[in-house]
């Protein structure tokens, strides 16, 4: 361990030295001034206001109102219909099997022991098969762990068993440091005897599954005691219970009927395995079919309403283009209207659902999905013309006959400087006898995060000719689509290209 501690100390020292060295050398570095950020375009607010006013107008049309109402009513209808068509769930765990038939009934709520027994008697009164009550339990996973002096691990699960324990609390010996009455230490096998009927049927709850293995709370965090003591420990005034073990075969069909307000879960266990019936209602095929039919009805109404909005949307898109929106800006009007309509409808339904306790189900998901797809299917993809001009390449080289390097250089610099589309951040100019070089870094003036770097190298070829090499690279602070940055790059290059073309044609000599 000393060796390990020494290695750890050496690593700490090395890291400390490395970072201190970086700080010392870093203090000699210079700060770079950043520019350009102050220009968040003020027209953004105006653009959003314009958009909001257009949306207000579109949303207050009868068509939009019909769309919202259709979806909200369909959602509410789906909730009512699905609550009648949902089924209780059942699944089989083949690994849990016992020789004698057993049924473990888990109650929805904890109740006094006598009430529990009476309820079970009346529940099973119509059963023709013979049965007997084998055990009554109180099983609770506590919200706040119970800490006991002298016990290492906090206790999460309290299990009360009838006819057990003679006034002591049983804890795993793995968790108890020293005897601490009334807490008594037992080995884990003995503890398991109380928690697993016949060694396989768990009375304690399954906390989760990892893969296919059920995960139970560790035995070190369980307290087993009598029903009376467990009830007292959990703050009940009288003995209570919430799990009943019944011996004998009880038909699953009968037990399924018992699920509801009183019983939350039933395990019917035989030599074939365990059939677990829960009161958890799940979506049935009937519900899905209902959702599909409702979706078709909604689709018919929504598509008609959406079609009737088309002329108005087209008109709005034209106005947007005149107001300076991008050509495809108009196309998103439909998306926004659809999104807002569905949001309003879902909000209205959610309010109604909370008031009347309506459930959310898979049907709702199908319905909303169908609504969005139908509405988007009627969205005009383009309401404007998008240019398809060829973008400038990022590198080109041109030979110019009859070239005067210095004059050409001045024209190039002038072309870079005199532009209303870009703000120059850096401009580097180098002149030699037979060579000249210009490098510029510009930001597109409509934004603060898109820019173009241009390098122009002019070198003489022979006596009177020269070669101009132009290299451009676009960049953006965020990922703006390549098509857009390409067009910005083309815009920047077009100025240089025009100067070069004029020289080639001899107009600038």
């Amino acid at each position: 361990m000393e060796v390990a501690a020494s290695i750890m100390a050496i690593i700490v020292a090395v890291a400390l030295a490395a970072f201190i060295a970086l700080i010392i050398s870093g203090t000699k570095e210079k700060e770079r001034e950043v520019t350009g950020f102050s220009r968040i375009d003020r027209s953004v607010g105006a653009k959003l206001e314009l958009m909001a006013s257009i949306l207000r107008k579109l949303l207050l049309t009868p068509s939009a109102l019909i769309i919202v109402l259709t979806l909200a009513v369909a959602l509410a209808g789906m909730a009512v219909l699905s609550s009648e068509s949902r089924s209780q769930s059942a699944f089989v765990v083949p690994v849990i099997k016992v020789e004698n038939n057993l049924t473990l009934i888990k109650l929805a709520n904890t109740a006094p022991v006598d009430d529990v027994l009476n309820a079970i008697e009346s529940l099973l009164s119509n059963t023709t098969s013979p049965y007997h009550i084998e055990g009554i339990y109180l099983v609770k996973v506590v919200d706040e762990p119970i800490r006991v002096e002298g016990v290492r691990t906090p206790k999460l699960v309290v299990v009360g068993v009838d006819n057990c324990c003679n006034g002591v609390y049983l804890i795993s010996c793995e968790a108890l440091d020293s005897p601490n009455p009334p807490f008594t230490c037992v080995n884990e096998d003995e503890l398991k005897g109380y928690l697993y009927v016949d060694g396989v049927l768990p009375v304690i709850p399954i906390e989760a599954f990892i893969g296919n293995k059920p995960v139970f709370p560790p035995l070190t965090s369980v307290i087993v005691t009598s029903l009376d003591d467990a009830s007292r420990l959990l703050g009940y005034e009288e003995p209570v219970a919430n799990v009943v073990l019944v011996g004998g075969y009880l038909p699953p069909s009968t037990m399924r009927e018992s699920l509801g307000k009183l019983v939350s879960e039933v395990w019917v266990v035989s030599e074939k395995g365990a059939l677990i019936l829960t009161s958890e209602s799940v979506s049935s095929l009937k519900e899905v079919i209902l959702a599909v039919f409702l979706s078709i009805a909604v689709a018919v109404v929504v598509s008609s309403a959406a079609r009737s909005m088309t002329p108005r949307v087209g008109e709005v898109a034209n106005r947007l283009m005149i107001s300076g929106f991008p050509s495809w800006g108009g196309a998103i009007i439909y998306y926004v209207v659809v999104m807002l309509c569905s949001t309003i409808a879902i909000a209205v339904y959610s309010g109604v659902a909370i008031m009347f306790g309506l459930p959310a189900s898979v049907g709702h998901l199908i319905l909303v999905g169908a609504f969005v797809l139908t509405a988007l299917a009627y969205t005009p993809r383009t309401t404007g013309f998008v240019g398809t001009g060829r973008a400038e390449a990022d590198y080109f080289s041109v030979r110019i006959d009859g070239c005067v390097i210095n004059k050409l250089l001045e024209d190039v610099i002038s072309a870079i400087r005199r532009t209303e589309f870009f703000v120059i951040e850096e401009l580097t100019i180098k002149r030699g006898n037979d060579k000249a070089f210009v490098r510029s870094k510009s930001i597109f003036s409509e934004t603060w995060g898109i820019g173009v770097d241009i390098e122009v190298l002019i070198s003489s070829v022979g006596e009177t000719s020269c070669r101009v090499e132009v290299r451009a690279s676009d960049w953006s602070i965020e990922e703006i689509s390549a098509s857009l940055t390409r067009s910005v790059r083309s815009l920047a290059l077009s100025r240089i290209r025009s100067v070069i073309e004029l020289w080639r044609l001899g107009y600038s000599r």
């Binding site: 100390a9 970072f19 027209s43 893969g211 799940v282």
Partner: protein, 571 residues
């Protein structure tokens, strides 16, 4: 220099508070904002400068002060965070059985060994920052990666300078109030998973309201946001049902989204391992030329060479320690040291790459580290504690990703790079004992029985870790790993053949597969908002980014206030 001193003083003051807030947040709820502290802190720094110093710092000074505070926040993930995690583990399983030494968890007063180990773990994690420093030119200049959290931090710095303007204050307040309301009222979650199990077992779908996640998603590039959403939705609507059908995990009626996540944990981890192996191989094959030239450049330059050497030496020594420290029931075969070291290094590189695209790698890549140790035949907790970045303490990959975001932010605001990296590293080391102490004080005050930190929530994690430490039977599902590898090729084929998916990042898809569907839906909503904003014009799009970063700072401040209110017993 006087400005540096001022930055260090302000950063230390904020760091001392943030370290406590993050530790408390983790101790009582299991959540921390440490990963986003780089975006949140600059606004706090500006407020403190204005209130205490009556001045406005330069962007560079503001960043340096923020980095000092961020160091404290980051150290909580290594010190108090892991101290609390191991205390939970020791509470749920017998530490002796899994060979968990006492100096890892709370069992009485802190000993010198506690301090030494957690400071060492911080130093070892910082090797990731040195790697980031060495490779920063490669990833930022050559691969031209965006590092969205770094960009977001720089936006936060630049916008907070106009904090007095009404618009910015309003957006900050909106983020803060929304987060406060959600924090006090709880985060509503509409979970359709229980009903779905009756129709398609293994399928999960939920809609959540985590505003912090939504704002983070807005900050990421559109293709990444959409990729994350697609990854999450594909995982929970398609891939998991297929694997449930194949019988890889149990999916029963009534199971909620978190039950499914827990049940599918080994399957999902295995899927990720398959995906990560292929994407890592693919990345290195594709970038081998650029990468080798960068490596040559790093080796030629004295400064980067030294950083690289120190980082690699620290990582190697840490893994050697896993074989040296033998506790009861712990064993790590020395022959596997080079393999684990190589995987750790590769994971650091790929994490830096992934963070460049997605902002955060979360823990998406790390199960590969766990699988390597498992494959070595290691037993007991110690090999994992020291050499596994997923369940262990040293986290060089996490630090490497954060380091790259820091360097990106440094470049954006024009701050001195070496100074920034040095301050960050020193701050993590200096704050490590303090944040460990915070964790200890909170554990000795509240124990592990906070009503908000239900211990039973830890049972599945502990069961998985315990199974891992005992040899890991059933921890890795090989067919699921094969499905993961195939999925990568499907994603690759789709992005290359479909024009609409051309910009989709395979790393973003991977990150998405690790996020629950409620988060996936938030990413989908964010992608839609970004899509619309982009079509309204790049100016609107950029304004959305700028305001989202301010709102994110507000939401982060909201979490801090909720945490303090919780500590005072108000909520």
């Amino acid at each position: 220099m006087p400005r540096l001193k001022r930055a260090v003083i302000v950063g230390t003051l904020i760091g001392a508070v943030m370290g406590f807030v993050d530790t408390y947040g983790y101790a009582v709820t299991g959540y921390t904002t440490a990963e986003l502290s780089l975006v949140i802190t600059p606004v706090l720094v500006m407020v403190v400068y204005r209130l205490l110093m009556k001045s406005v710092p330069s962007p560079s000074e503001q960043l340096l002060a923020s980095l000092v505070a961020v160091g404290s926040s980051l150290s909580t993930t290594i010190t108090s965070g892991m101290y609390i995690t191991y205390t939970m583990l020791a509470a749920m399983v017998d530490p002796g059985v899994i060979g968990l030494p006492q100096w890892l968890y709370y069992s009485g007063p802190l000993t010198p060994m506690h301090y030494l180990f957690y400071i060492f773990a911080s130093a070892s994690s910082l090797s990731g920052v040195l790697l980031a420093y060495a490779f920063s030119e490669h990833f930022i200049s050559k691969e031209r990666l965006h590092y969205p959290i770094g960009v977001s931090a720089s936006l936060s710095i630049l916008i907070s300078r106009a904090v007095s303007s009404k618009e910015v204050a309003l957006v900050f307040a909106a983020g803060l109030v929304t987060e406060l309301l959600l924090g006090v009222l709880g985060f509503p979650l509409l979970d359709l998973t229980p009903s779905l199990q009756g129709i398609v077992p293994g399928m999960a779908f939920a809609v959540g309201t985590d505003v912090l996640v939504l704002l983070l998603a807005l900050m990421l590039p559109l293709s990444v946001t959409a990729g994350v959403a697609l990854g999450s939705i594909s995982m929970f609507l398609v891939i998991l049902p297929i694997m449930a059908f194949a019988g890889f995990f149990a999916a029963f009626p009534g199971m909620g989204v978190y039950d499914i996540v827990s049940s599918a944990a080994p399957t999902m981890s295995s899927f990720i391992i398959g995906y990560v192996i292929v994407i890592t191989a693919f990345y290195f094959l594709n970038y081998r030329g650029v990468f080798l030239s960068s490596l040559r450049f790093i080796v030629k330059t004295r400064e980067t060479r030294t950083s690289l050497l120190i980082a690699l030496t620290i990582q190697l020594l840490t893994i050697i320690l896993a074989a040296v420290i033998i506790t009861h029931n712990s064993y790590f075969p020395p022959a596997f040291i080079p393999i684990v070291f190589l995987v750790s290094f590769l994971l650091s590189i790929v994490t830096m790459r992934m963070v460049g695209e997605t902002g955060t790698a979360s823990q998406a890549l790390l199960p590969l580290g766990t699988a390597t140790i498992l494959a070595s035949g290691a037993r007991g907790a110690m090999p994992y504690v020291l050499a596994d970045p997923y369940t262990g303490v040293p986290m060089p990959q996490f630090m490497a990703g954060t380091g790259m975001n820091v360097i990106k932010a440094t470049e954006k605001v024009g701050a001195p790079k070496r100074l920034a990296v040095g301050l960050l590293g020193l701050s993590v080391l200096v704050f490590a004992p303090l944040t460990l102490l915070y964790g200890h004080v909170l554990l000795s005050t509240y124990g592990i029985s906070s009503p908000r930190l239900n211990l039973s929530r830890w049972i599945p994690i502990v069961a998985w870790m315990s199974s891992l430490y005992s040899g890991g039977e059933g921890s890795i599902v090989v067919p699921a790993a094969i499905v993961g590898a195939i999925t990568f090729f499907i994603v690759l084929a789709l992005t290359r053949s479909l024009k609409s998916l051309a910009g989709l990042s395979a790393f973003a898809f991977l990150l998405g597969t690790t996020l629950t569907p409620d988060m996936g839906m938030l990413f989908a909503v964010a992608a839609l908002i970004k899509f619309i904003a982009y079509r309204m014009g790049t100016d609107v799009y950029e304004a959305l980014l700028a305001y989202a970063s301010v709102a994110l700072s507000g939401a982060g401040a909201g979490i801090m206030i909720t945490t303090v209110m919780s500590a005072l017993g108000v909520v």
